[in-house]
Amino acid sequence: MTQEISSLVDGELESPDADRAIKACCASAEGARAWHEYHLIGEALRHGAVGGTDVTGRVMGALASEPTVLAPRPSRVMGVARVALAAAASVATVAVVGWIGFTGTTAPTTPVVATSAPAGPGLDAGVTRPVNHTVSAPSADVHDYVAAHRQTVTSEHYRPVAATVPARP
């Protein structure tokens, strides 16, 4: 059941399963605790607190005070792309945080938004090389891509589970 709750937190369940998991999580003390803990863990992981470097807050602060780099016209979409790039630079943090966040048990369903860390100046010094196109944001927080990427490539040879664990019937 805790597995189902975990999947629910991850937004991975189809609706009948989700209904069941939601009922379960409210019906028992164990379920409620699991629900709470999975969210807690997910929050800790996803917000970078675990790695000790709160990237998003600083980046969002920097974004507010700096012009866009790539796009010929300012746009809100650019902001998301730049958040992603700045976040991507914190390899160690995301490596420790990201792959656990996605492979362990949890990843919250809400996208990561900036937290209230102080803004750091000069964060985006490395964003360069304009191209002849605008960058549009992917459909969700690009931090997700960063985390997903780090998760797989921190392993020196990523192994699909099917290689070592028999598939379930």
Binding site: G51, G104, P108, G126, A140, H149, V153
Partner: protein, 323 residues
Amino acid sequence: MRVGAARAWLPALALGFSTGALAQVSQDPLAWLQRAAAASRTANYSGTYVHTSGERTQTLRITHVMTNGDEHERIETLDGPRQEIVRRNDEMYCYLPDAKTIRLDRRVTARFFPSIFRAPAEALAQNYTLKLGKVERVVGHDCQWIRLDPKDGLRFAQRLCAETGSGLLIRAKTLNDRGQVIEQFTFTDLKLGSQVARGDVKSAFQARLHDWKTDPQPRDETRGAVTGWAILNPPAGFRQISEMRRTLPGRTLPVSQIVLSDGLASMSVFVEAAGLAPRSEGASEDGNTSFYVKPAGDHVVTVLGEVPVAAAQQAARAVSRRP
């Protein structure tokens, strides 16, 4: 086939070179890389290292011990809230500060510096020109620099420094095409061999645990599912090392992910259904990480990796439906 390709690298990684062959390998950069790869898995070591990328810095402590053929490793973050990862062979556990625990099952194993290789040294030699640099004293150890210069514009130069006795990497730098350091790992203290206290691999948190959170059920996203997409002509020197469909937060539909690597650098190619917003092709890079977005009909391709933007662009444009 995909699994086969990934696994084909495993034996070479696992065997590598035994240590103590210093006399034979001393002039051969390829052999030094092999020693470095083997040492990261088989040597006993313990130390603190600093990872710098862009303006961000992270300090971690690692202890790695072989006991009765089992690999034990403990990673602890030293900056910010405490977090710990303990690994025994392929089994990994993560301990969080408040003693909430995630147990990771055998599906995924992660490696940290100094385990940086994703392919045997021979594969690296196809993509990088290997040269030995000088021997320097680094963090109190004699250290042999190994220079990896890219053979094309699709990857960054690497400078690796291997402790001469064990072959273990003490320092690793990534340089951009202007020779600037854009990422670095460096030990600030390092104990080797018998200096390492075996008890150091034991978790500091484990005793306080009251509750295990386990996740025994393999998830589809780590099963290496066929995504229906293929990178028909990947950037030179890159090969596919995994393929999966995964759920990302906030999405209703799964996202396909194909990971390419040249043995050191890697990138993920994501393909997903396009949303309502109009999209256009574009790219950016920051430090060693490039990001490329390309619309493809009713889908969107997003490439992200530690590669020059040219490599990300090639990968994005090589995506097509699996024939």
